[in-house]
Structure formats: structure tokens, C-alpha cells
């Protein structure tokens, strides 16, 4: 039981989240990728906290991250719903009113 | 009263502009107010002449008020003043500006398109020009210098001819490029000089007088000659000189940075062409004499030959291009390039005669070019055609017009008895003497420049021959244009100009009384300080 494996898992989750964000063309799936990245960070925070047992900074931070993740998801889904109403899709490629 | 004369001169037109803007649209008051303001400025200028003492060198009628004073911690203090004053360089140019603005306002009398905006912008331009010539603080100078840009841009861009947008943007960009170069040097100067009367903390002052004094250069600053900072193998001080030279050279305009000028002139309305040629070009020469040379005399002594070279190129190229022009207005625009080349040559010689000649040439060219552009405007008003080849034998049809044109052409080509002759003679004298006195420029420059005179005579006489002599003929698309002779308003504009060229041609003392003290001190300061600084660099 070593913390190293946690760091490796965290790096893996972050990378997979990043790949999903870069590659996937569905807004909801991108949202999932973002959740993975946030969780990777949380995992790091909790694991690093183990090395400073005197304080609980890392755990508290992770708690706030969770709260914010919920907020983000709520906001994101509200916007995605409205986009769906206008465009009947949640695939960003098919949404192109704004000229880049 | 006495001590507020200059401020009055600068702020009268701004007040006038406000009044014009506030008055309800659709009235004809705009032009009357503009004229009234211009005449009031004339009155103020008479008071200035009365108060000015020609026996003194240096600045007179100074007004100084603290404008910006910022304590900057480790930097010391940054200070800019509202500092206006006149000397033998500023005064003739201010007088010229006052006079030309009266003429230009009369010449704009028949502007139809949105009068209110036109006269308001004209008045703002007026204030900016006056301010530029009076300011003795670099920041204030730069402010007025930049402030001429927008009114001019709109005056050409809105009231100009067919390709006005192109011309106005070209004008704007060229001038802006120049002013950015000047800005860079201004920042460097601000950081490298201190005020001469500071106590304890370092005061970075924008005062040009302070910057001129080489004792005020802070040690270990960018422009410190002792530090000898270099960029791409060339001293930073030389770079600064080059930047200023290009910045003011664009205004002058000097070949090869002149290409905005013909376009701007051809598209601008008559009154604006007059202002452009008579006043705005002078700011280039003024900047060289006021800032470039006195502030970097060491670099000036190294590079004067280059300045003279560009002067001669401008003289010759301008004359050749004028000869090749088919459009009368373009011809006169190129003749301006040629004549302003003499200013460069005069300044580059750094002799009393040369510097005095340069100032004289600026005033003289201001008057003569105003006359020439007004004459083109007269013809254009009647026929809407400026092509030389379309006219012939005009002398029989418009005898009064012909006589004024003859006079203006002769004045411009430098016939003795006109102001242009005096100016050019002085410049040649200076350029010849320079090699013997201070060894800055070679005599050959002066000799080549005389070629410009011959060419000038050639294109003017050729134009006279083509347009005015022979059998009357006018080729035009609209047949029933009536070529009537000058009316009273036009004579009212042209006659004073003609009288002044003749007066300055016969009694040069009228002007030299003011200029000479300046030319003496300019030459002395540049040569002495230049040598002193060079001695520091190469001990």
C-alpha cells in the first residue's frame, strides 16, 4: 500500500480526462472528462495530505472541489439543455452560429 | 495681459471651436466665428510683436505652469509643465500661422458640406498648430503635434476629393509612424535627463531647455554618452537622432518618405492644401531645429552629411517629379518637396547663414505655396479640372489670374526680389561655408543643389508656356463652363500674400531681425555642445 500507486492513478485519470476533452465531440461526455480531471486532482490532494498529518488542508480543499463540481455540472447541464432546445443536438460541431 | 498673450493665441481657437459646436446646426455663423477668431489672433499677434524684444536671444514671453508632477518613488519625480514661449525660430512661424489661418478661413468661405464640423475642426487644427510652435516642453509639444493628426485626417477624409479615404489614411499612417519614433526618443530622453534646478531627488523634466543642456544627462542612463550604449553596433544616441530625423523627415517631407504628400494634396480641399503646405510641413523643419539638432548635437555632427544628402535628393527628385506631373496640384505638391529640401540642406550646414536661411525658407515657402494652392483652387472651382494639358492660352481669358500666377511662379522659382530668392541664397551660402567653418558638409552638396534651381525654373516656365500662352483653348467634358476672372474675395486672399513675398524679398531685415539671434545661438550651441560630448565619447 504505497502512495506512489495513487499518484500514478491520479496522473492516469488526469490524462484520460484530458484526452476525452480533446477528442470527444459530445458536450455531456466532455463534462464527464472534466469530472475525471477534477477527481484526479482530488486524489492527489488527499494523498498528499497523508504526508502532512498535522493538518487537513488537502481534504478540505477536496471537499470544496466536490461542491464546485456539482455547481459546474448544474450550470453545464442547464446550458446544454437550452442549446439542445435550439439546435436539437449536444454535439458542438453541429453548433456553429458563431464564426470562429 | 502681457503675460497671457501666447495662451490667448492657443486657446482662442479652442473656445471658437466650442462656440461653433454649440451653435445650432444649419446656421452660417460657423465661418464668421472662425474668421473672427482668426482676426482676433492677428490682433494678439500684433501685441506679441510689440512685446517681443529682437535684441535678445533665447525665449521670451514665457508662460510656465506646473502641469504634471508625479512622485515616482525610486524614480524620483516626473514633471511636465505647461511651458510656452517664443524665440527667433518660433515667432516667424507663429506669425505665418496666424496669417495663413486668416487666408484659409476666407478661402473656405464657400464650403457647403456640413459647415459646422468643418469650421470646428479648422479651429481645433489652428489651436494645435499654434501650440506646436509655442510649446517648450517636450510632452506639450508632442501633445499638440499628435493633436494635429485627427482634425487633418477628417478634414481630408470628409471634405476631400474622389480618393479622399485613401489619401487621408495614407497621411495618417505616415505621420503616426513618425510620431511613434519620436515617442520612443521622448521616453528615452525623459529617463535620461534631469531638471537643471532640482534639489535632492532627481526630477525628470520634459522641458526642452533642460534636455538641451548636456550637463543634465544622468550618468549611466540610456543616452549617457559616457556609458556609450550601443544597439546593433551603433550608438544609442545616434539611433535617437535617426529616429527623430525620420519622424520629422516624414512631416517635412523628405524623399523617400514623401509619398503621402502628393496624394494628400491632390485630394484635400483647397484651404486644407494651403494649411498642409504652408504650416504642417514646417513642423518637420521646426522639429529638426528645435529638437533633433540641439538635443543630439554629437550625433548631428556625425550625420549632418546624411541630412544634407537627403536634402539634395529631395531638391532634385522633387523638381524632376514636378516636371513629370500632369496634374497642376501634384506639380505644386512636388515643388514643395523640392523646396523643403533646402530647409534640410540649410539645417545640415549648421552655420548662421544656413540656419537662418532654413527658417527664412520655411516662412517664404509658407507664403508662396499658400498662394500657389489658392491659385490652383481658383481654377478648379471654375472648371473642376486640374490637368495641365487641357488648358492653353489662359492669359487672354483671365488676365488678372495670369498676373498673379506669373508672380507666384516667379516667386517660387527663386527670382531675385522675391522672398524665395533670399532664402535660397542664404542656404547656399551656409552650405558652401560649412566645410570651411565646421567641416560638416561638403561644398559639392551646394553645387548639386543649384541644379534644383535650374530645374525649378524649367518646370515653372514650361507650365506657363503650356497653360497660359498661345491660343485660348479648354478641353472639357462639360462645355458650358465659363472661365471668369478673379473675384474680389479671391483677390483679397491673394494680394496680401503677394505683397508679403515681395516685401520679404526686398527687405529681408524684416524677418532676419528675428531670425538672426536664433540662428547664431543655434549654431553656437550645436557646435559647442556637440564637440564637448564627442570629446567625452572619444577622449
Amino acid at each position: 500500500m504505497s502512495l506512489q500507486s495513487i499518484y500514478i492513478l491520479s496522473a492516469l485519470l488526469f490524462s484520460i480526462g484530458l484526452v476525452i476533452v480533446l477528442v470527444k465531440r459530445n458536450a455531456i461526455l466532455v463534462l464527464m472528462g472534466i469530472e475525471l480531471m477534477l477527481n484526479a486532482a482530488n486524489l492527489n490532494l488527499i494523498a498528499f495530505n497523508k504526508t502532512v498529518p498535522a493538518s487537513l488542508d488537502g481534504q478540505v480543499f477536496a471537499l470544496f472541489v466536490m461542491v464546485i463540481a456539482v455547481c459546474e455540472t448544474a450550470v453545464g447541464l442547464a446550458i446544454i439543455l437550452q442549446v439542445y432546445r435550439h439546435y436539437h443536438t449536444s454535439v458542438p460541431d453541429e453548433i456553429n452560429e458563431l464564426k470562429g | 495681459m502681457h503675460e497671457y498673450l501666447l495662451s490667448l493665441l492657443i486657446f482662442l481657437p479652442l473656445i471658437g471651436a466650442l462656440i461653433v459646436l454649440v451653435l445650432p446646426a444649419g446656421t452660417f455663423y460657423g465661418r464668421s466665428i472662425a474668421l473672427l477668431i482668426a482676426l482676433l489672433q492677428g490682433l494678439v499677434f500684433i501685441f506679441i510683436l510689440a512685446a517681443y524684444d529682437t535684441s535678445l536671444t533665447g525665449l521670451q514671453l514665457a508662460e510656465r505652469a506646473r502641469w504634471i508632477s508625479l512622485a515616482m518613488g525610486t524614480w524620483g519625480e516626473v514633471r511636465a509643465d505647461y511651458f510656452v514661449a517664443l524665440d527667433g525660430l518660433s515667432l516667424p512661424l507663429v506669425g505665418l500661422s496666424v496669417f495663413i489661418f486668416i487666408i484659409a478661413t476666407i478661402s473656405s468661405w464657400k464650403v457647403e458640406k456640413s459647415r459646422k464640423g468643418y469650421f470646428a475642426l479648422l479651429l481645433v487644427l489652428n489651436a494645435a498648430v499654434m501650440g506646436t510652435f509655442c510649446a517648450q516642453d517636450f510632452l506639450l509639444f508632442y501633445l499638440f503635434f499628435e493633436f494635429m493628426l485627427l482634425p487633418m485626417f477628417f478634414l481630408i477624409g470628409i471634405w476631400g476629393g474622389a480618393r479622399r479615404e485613401y489619401a487621408s489614411i495614407k497621411f495618417f499612417l505616415y505621420t503616426l509612424l513618425g510620431s511613434i519614433l519620436i515617442l520612443i526618443v521622448m521616453i528615452a530622453l525623459l529617463l535620461s535627463t534631469k531638471s537643471s534646478n532640482d534639489t535632492g531627488t532627481v526630477v525628470h523634466s520634459f522641458s526642452i531647455t533642460d534636455m538641451t543642456n548636456s550637463a543634465n544627462i544622468l550618468s549611466q542612463s540610456v543616452l549617457d554618452p559616457q556609458r556609450g550604449l550601443e544597439l546593433f553596433g551603433i550608438s544609442v544616441r545616434v539611433w535617437a537622432f535617426i529616429f527623430l530625423f525620420i519622424g520629422f523627415g516624414i512631416k517635412l517631407p523628405m524623399v523617400p518618405l514623401h509619398t503621402w504628400l502628393p496624394d494628400a494634396h491632390v485630394e484635400a480641399p483647397t484651404a486644407i492644401s494651403v494649411l498642409l503646405a504652408a504650416l504642417l510641413l514646417k513642423i518637420g523643419g521646426y522639429g529638426l531645429l528645435r529638437i533633433t539638432y540641439p538635443l543630439f548635437p554629437d550625433a548631428a555632427m556625425q550625420l549632418s552629411w546624411l541630412v544634407a544628402l537627403f536634402g539634395v535628393i529631395s531638391i532634385i527628385y522633387g523638381a524632376l517629379a514636378a516636371m513629370a506631373s500632369k496634374d497642376l496640384k501634384r506639380l505644386i505638391a512636388y515643388s514643395s518637396v523640392s523646396h523643403m529640401g533646402f530647409v534640410l540642406l540649410g539645417v545640415a550646414s549648421v552655420t548662421t547663414e544656413g540656419a537662418a536661411g532654413a527658417v527664412y525658407q520655411m516662412v517664404s515657402h509658407g507664403v508662396i505655396s499658400a498662394m500657389l494652392f489658392l491659385l490652383v483652387g481658383v481654377l478648379y472651382d471654375r472648371t473642376h479640372d486640374r490637368m495641365i494639358e487641357n488648358y492653353s492660352g489662359l492669359s487672354s481669358k483671365m488676365p488678372v489670374y495670369f498676373s498673379y500666377t506669373l508672380l507666384a511662379f516667379f516667386a517660387s522659382l527663386g527670382l531675385p526680389g522675391f522672398s524665395g530668392f533670399m532664402a535660397e541664397v542664404m542656404v547656399f551660402l551656409g552650405a558652401f561655408k560649412s566645410n570651411g567653418v565646421n567641416g560638416l558638409i561638403h561644398e559639392s552638396f551646394a553645387i548639386v543643389a543649384t541644379l534644383g534651381l535650374v530645374l525649378g525654373a524649367a518646370y515653372y516656365l514650361w507650365t506657363l508656356q503650356r497653360m497660359f500662352f498661345g491660343k485660348y483653348h479648354f478641353k472639357s467634358s462639360t462645355e458650358n463652363t465659363s472661365l471668369v476672372d478673379l473675384d474680389q474675395r479671391e483677390i483679397l486672399m491673394l494680394l496680401p500674400l503677394a505683397l508679403i513675398t515681395i516685401a520679404f524679398g526686398i527687405f529681408p531685415q524684416l524677418l532676419l531681425n528675428f531670425i538672426n539671434p536664433f540662428a547664431d545661438s543655434f549654431t553656437e550651441t550645436v557646435l559647442q555642445t556637440g564637440k564637448a560630448i564627442q570629446a567625452i565619447i572619444r577622449p
Binding site: I20, L22, L29, L31, K50, Q59, V60, A78 | -
Partner: protein, 170 residues
């Protein structure tokens, strides 16, 4: 290998596996389930790392909040007929390359910097973690706590406003 150690590596495995699966799934609903698996494995890991409160929050907030919201979103935005929208990838290979690059970079540096550290990772067992978190949140972290409350309120209200807007045709 103790049971604890076994569980530790087991949950690491499930978390990693479900994340990798998530990357290649073609059905968005299945993807949501894979995410749920991953998040629950992480909750289990939190317990093993003595962050019990976090584990509970993970289950409540993530599994109960985020994933449910996402599933709602999926249901509301799939096309009529219940047919799930197939997931398409663009630039999968470059994306994977970037991801692998980031992964190995992180691995390399984590290895170099952190593993080399003198391990101060004491396996101290703190009994009253939850109590300590409670006190910390209401003393040191009272400000972020309150601000998070404000944020939640703002987000709820804003999301409701946006989602509740009915598109009226002119």
C-alpha cells in the same frame, strides 16, 4: 498481502479500468455508468486513505449529484425514440498521443521529485477525522465555506433561470 492492501490495489485497478473503458465506449449512457464505477472506486480508495468524510461526500455529491444530473442530461438530450446518440471522436490518435505524453511527463516528474523525497508518509491512524474536518471548516475555512454557500445559491438560481426559459417563437 493483507486484505486492506488487496482492496487498495483492487480499487485502483477498477478506477483505472473504468476510466480507460470510458474513453472507448460508444454509448453515452454506458459511459455514464463507467464514470459512476470510477467515482465509486475512488470513494473506496478515500476510505482506505483515512478520508472517510470525503468518501461519504464523494458518494453523496458525485454519485448522487453529478452522475444523476448527467444521466438526466443524457435522457433529456437524446433524440426521440430513445436511441442514444452515438459518440464520435475527432482526432483520436493525436488526442491519445497528447494524453500519453502528459501521462508520461507527469509520471516522470512525480517519480523524480516526489518518490525521491524522504518519505514522511506516516501511516498514522487518526480516529476523529470527521470531527476535525468539522472544526476546521467552521474556523479556518469558514470563509470558503460561506462563499461556497453563496456560489451554490447563485448557481441554483441561475441554472434554473436558464434551463427554465421557454423558447417562444417570436
Amino acid at each position: 498481502m493483507t486484505l486492506v492492501a488487496f482492496l487498495f490495489y483492487f480499487f485502483i485497478g477498477t478506477a483505472a479500468l473504468s476510466a480507460i473503458v470510458l474513453l472507448f465506449l460508444k454509448n453515452i449512457f454506458h459511459a455514464a455508468l463507467a464514470l459512476l464505477t470510477c467515482l465509486l472506486s475512488l470513494a473506496a480508495l478515500f476510505i482506505l486513505l483515512q478520508a472517510e468524510f470525503l468518501a461519504v461526500s464523494q458518494i453523496l455529491l458525485y454519485a448522487g449529484g453529478v452522475v444523476i444530473l448527467i444521466i438526466f442530461g443524457i435522457m433529456l438530450t437524446t433524440k426521440a425514440g430513445g436511441q442514444a446518440v452515438p459518440i464520435t471522436n475527432t482526432g483520436l490518435l493525436p488526442g491519445l498521443a497528447v494524453g500519453a505524453g502528459v501521462f508520461f511527463l507527469l509520471l516522470f516528474f512525480v517519480h523524480k521529485s516526489l518518490f525521491a523525497l524522504p518519505s514522511s508518509a506516516q501511516e498514522t491512524i487518526v480516529n476523529n477525522n470527521i470531527e476535525r474536518i468539522g472544526i476546521e471548516i467552521l474556523t479556518d475555512y469558514v470563509l470558503p465555506f460561506e462563499l461556497a454557500g453563496v456560489l451554490l445559491l447563485a448557481v441554483l438560481m441561475g441554472a434554473a433561470t436558464i434551463a427554465g426559459f421557454k423558447h417562444v417563437k417570436n
